[in-house]
Symmetry: C2
Subunit: 151 residues, 2 copies
């Protein structure tokens, strides 16, 4: 469905406005579907994102700053996200011995296990949308988004 129809716009929209609404709306659609995948695991999207970042550390701990840097929503409150993951025993949190200002966060085996279980579902989710485009179109969409976003 066209973006004008999705938001029930009665007047024709400028292409610049359509694009920005289309990005917002498309992100909402993908995100809503992703949250449904995570729901049975009692994880929010941002909590999942933190776990994914920690797995990427391959055994090394990550401090709060490093997690924040790799996050998509840069303004998320990493402290509170890690708090929630700690309650579920998906991560450990320790003061860094070399620099006591820093906090070392590590994913636990339980956290790794939940990610392993989620992996195929996440890939299925990604493909659910990308299957609508062929390889060439996918590369094009990716390039156009990068070009659009950067100043």
């Amino acid at each position: 469905m066209k973006i004008e129809d999705e938001i029930k716009s009665t007047i024709p929209l400028d292409i610049s406005k359509k694009i920005i609404l289309n990005i917002l709306y498309t992100q909402n659609v993908t995100n809503e579907k992703f949250n449904e995948i995570l729901k049975p695991y009692d994880l929010s999207g941002e909590q999942y994102n933190v776990l994914r970042i920690l797995r990427g550390q391959k055994g090394n701990p990550a401090n709060m700053c490093a997690i924040q840097e790799r996050m998509i929503a840069k303004t998320s409150n990493t402290t509170r996200l890690v708090d929630k993951l700690l309650l579920k025993n998906f991560v450990t949190r320790n003061v860094c011995p070399d620099n006591r200002r820093k906090i070392e966060v590590m994913i636990t085996q339980k956290g790794l296990d939940v990610l392993t279980e989620l992996d195929p579902k996440v890939i299925e989710h990604e493909n659910y949308f990308s299957q609508n485009l062929n390889t060439e179109e996918l590369e094009l969409l990716n390039t156009l988004l990068e070009k659009y976003r950067n100043q």
Copy 2:
């Protein structure tokens, strides 16, 4: 900057994953910039969206359902958004005389004035990003997003 660099990914990502992250990230970038525009007016993005919908009614009131239908984030809590707008005298709220289950929400002159003041800033914001692409690329991006999103 490429999406892999934005999130400091150490491994190459599948195109399907890149697209979904790219949409999420791009939406975050545009949204953050838009919030800065709204900040001096003490409006949130969703509050602005409700005002825009009400202006589109051209003098006719809209009930909560109608507002909800036209909103981008379908799960937003319209009642509370209207509450906030009411406190700022940007809207009026009355029980519908024909059907007392319904609430008639209307934009005030003060609400219309703030939208008029915002209009050029919003257009500038939209163009800030779209100027990176030519007309053909903009149409292509719009089409690809619609194709991507729909099942």
